[in-house]
């Protein structure tokens, strides 16, 4: 697996990131490095190894379906630059 310059530009666009030429080069270098590592790991023989989902062996950590109201809207909205009628105010979206 490898990654191209075009893919870096595409991913940056999807992530709403503006990269300078130098940053594109640097990101490309770092990404290739990560993929190289993954390629090496991929070569390990995993026959008879238990397939895990995620980084720990824990599973089925659930919550009961019981209501707990947070109850403080003001504090939830308090960091917003602008608010109106109990809502976050943002630039117009169609």
């Amino acid at each position: 697996m490898d990654i191209s310059r075009e893919e870096i530009i595409h991913i940056a666009k999807l992530a709403n990131l503006k990269l300078t030429e130098a940053e594109i080069e640097k990101t490309l270098f770092n990404m290739k490095d990560i993929l190289n590592f993954a390629n090496t790991v991929n070569k390990v023989n995993t026959d008879n190894v238990y397939e895990s989902i995620g980084a720990t062996q824990n599973y089925n950590v659930f919550r009961k379906d019981e209501i707990k109201e947070f109850g403080d809207r003001d504090i939830l909205l308090s960091n917003a630059p602008e608010q109106e009628d109990g809502m976050f105010k943002i630039p117009k979206v169609i």
């Binding site: 895990s52 089925n60 209501i67 109201e69 947070f70 809207r73 117009k92």
Partner: protein
């Protein structure tokens, strides 16, 4: 070439809000409505450092839906992040499921003119709903309400097995009815708790490859779904007939103009860069757990239908209509239990109640009266307290201002006159005022009797017992 030379091919993505008490990853209530941002907490508002914990009922409800639609239930499953930017999605990713959904490979059976047809389901997965954008008074900005953000959804994805808007409607009605019966969603289209996106393509009849498809969103009633499909199929056929090509894109249906419009930023729309959510742990389902859910699943429409036909002796058509909605079916069973006359209850539902629903443009879940009230109405007819023509008026009252039918009848003075003396009085009066009809009857014109009974009914404002009237007129005339 004309429309008849083409075949429409459709698959559906149906979103149903689950009727759990709390959201999928936090303990906020899912209740509809409420002041903006009052059903929210730091988790569903995506404050940095907060962590989601999966609601166990969401897994249970999704598995219920999977079992009821003949799906295979996964032994291992997980949650993934679907990444995109939109102001109603505070984390800038939606927690959904990508390659290991809870349920796969199911089917739902629908009735078509050519008989039963299986619509295959690709998968059912769990995910969270987004918030809502409102517009401010002056149109200068948008206002974000996150009450719906984090409400649990199941997405039910079908294979492209649907061939007409009629089939789509039957499929949706069937899904809605199943989800209602197993009580995992209240499926209120008007509140957005059941929504469908339709993938539409057309191809020449006999073709083996699918055409390019478009995805339509924003239809919020059965009627608008049917209209949108008809419009979009016509549009695609038109484009092809004029030598054009269909572009794969997402379209928004506009109910007012009756047209579809392309939604913007389509080129990157499909690139969601899914990856496993590292904040959540694997889901494993044991056979025992799944079996337990299967054992406790409420009775499904197919089984109720069979019971109505075999045990009560209803025609298949009637049993189909009654079981199409849990609300109708419960109304039928509840009312029958009270009056012990299921055939009469079925008749009321099939005729007058269906007619009222159509005229008032109501769905069965919006019926304002109770099964008990309908049962009591049938009791009043069976006891001879009211005639069936008065009963029709009582039914209209039940839609307008529901209360116990006996109360309605008393307040309106609609009780049937079955008192012999009172009826005789009316009969004698009518005979005296209609000498010509009496003469006609005696001359052999049987129709005159009908006229006389009609006059007596008019005289009593429809309240006289028609059987007694008939009998008494005959007695008097044949004296």
């Amino acid at each position: 070439m004309s429309r008849e030379d083409y075949e429409i091919v459709m698959g559906l993505e149906v979103h149903a809000e689950l009727s759990t008490k709390t959201k999928i990853f936090c303990s906020c209530p899912t209740e509809f409505g409420g002041e903006p941002n009052t059903h929210c907490c730091p988790i569903c508002m995506a404050m940095p450092g907060t962590l989601p914990v999966l609601n166990e009922k969401v897994v249970e409800y999704a598995i219920k839906a999977g079992i009821a639609t003949n799906c295979e239930i996964a032994k291992n499953s997980k949650n993934d992040r679907k990444n995109y930017f939109y102001p109603d999605l505070p984390k800038a990713y939606q927690i959904s499921q990508y390659d290991m959904p809870l349920c796969e490979r199911g089917y739902v059976e629908i009735e078509t003119e050519e008989g039963k047809k299986k619509i295959r389901l690709t998968r059912i997965h769990i995910e969270e709903d987004a918030g809502k954008l409102n517009h401010d008074e002056y149109g200068r900005g948008s206002l974000v309400d996150l009450n719906r953000a984090g409400v649990p959804l199941i997405e039910i994805v079908s294979e492209p097995d649907l061939r007409s808007s009629k089939e789509v409607e039957s499929y949706l009605r069937k899904l809605k009815s199943i989800l209602e019966y197993i009580e995992v969603s209240d499926c209120k289209m008007q509140e957005g708790s059941l929504r469908a996106d339709v993938n539409v393509s057309v191809r020449k009849k006999g073709a083996t490859e699918y055409g390019t498809r478009t995805e339509m969103k924003n239809m919020n009633s059965f009627r608008s779904i049917v209209r949108a499909i008809e419009y979009e199929a016509d549009r695609q056929i038109d484009v092809i007939e004029n030598g054009g090509k269909i572009e794969q894109e997402t379209l928004r249906w506009d109910d007012v103009s009756g047209r579809t419009f392309p939604m913007r930023d389509k080129e990157d729309a499909q690139d969601y860069r899914y990856f496993p959510d590292p904040d959540l742990l694997a889901i494993k389902m044991s056979d025992e757990y799944v079996e337990e859910i299967r054992r406790n699943l409420p009775e499904l429409p197919e089984s109720r239908k069979k019971r109505y036909i075999e045990e009560i002796g209803l025609p298949e058509y009637d049993a189909n209509l009654l079981t199409a909605s849990k609300y109708l079916s419960n109304l039928f069973e509840g009312a029958s239990a009270i009056c012990n006359n299921p055939k009469a209850v079925s008749n009321w539902i099939m005729t007058d109640i269906t007619k009222e629903l159509n005229e008032r443009e109501l769905e069965p879940d919006q019926i304002p009266f109770t099964a008990e009230q309908l049962g009591n109405l049938v009791v009043l007819i069976d006891k001879g307290t009211i005639s069936s023509s008065i009963a029709k008026k009582v039914l209209v009252e039940l839609f307008e201002n529901p209360k116990d039918p006996m109360k309605i009848v008393e307040e309106k003075g609609w009780i049937q006159i079955s008192d012999e003396g009172a009826i005789k009085e009316v009969v004698l009066k009518v005979l005296e005022n209609n000498q010509q009809s009496v003469a006609d009857y005696k001359a052999g014109k049987d129709k005159a009797l009908g006229f006389l009974v009609g006059q007596a009914m008019k005289e009593t404002k429809g309240k006289a017992n028609p059987g007694m009237l008939n009998k008494m007129f005959l007695e008097e005339l044949n004296k």
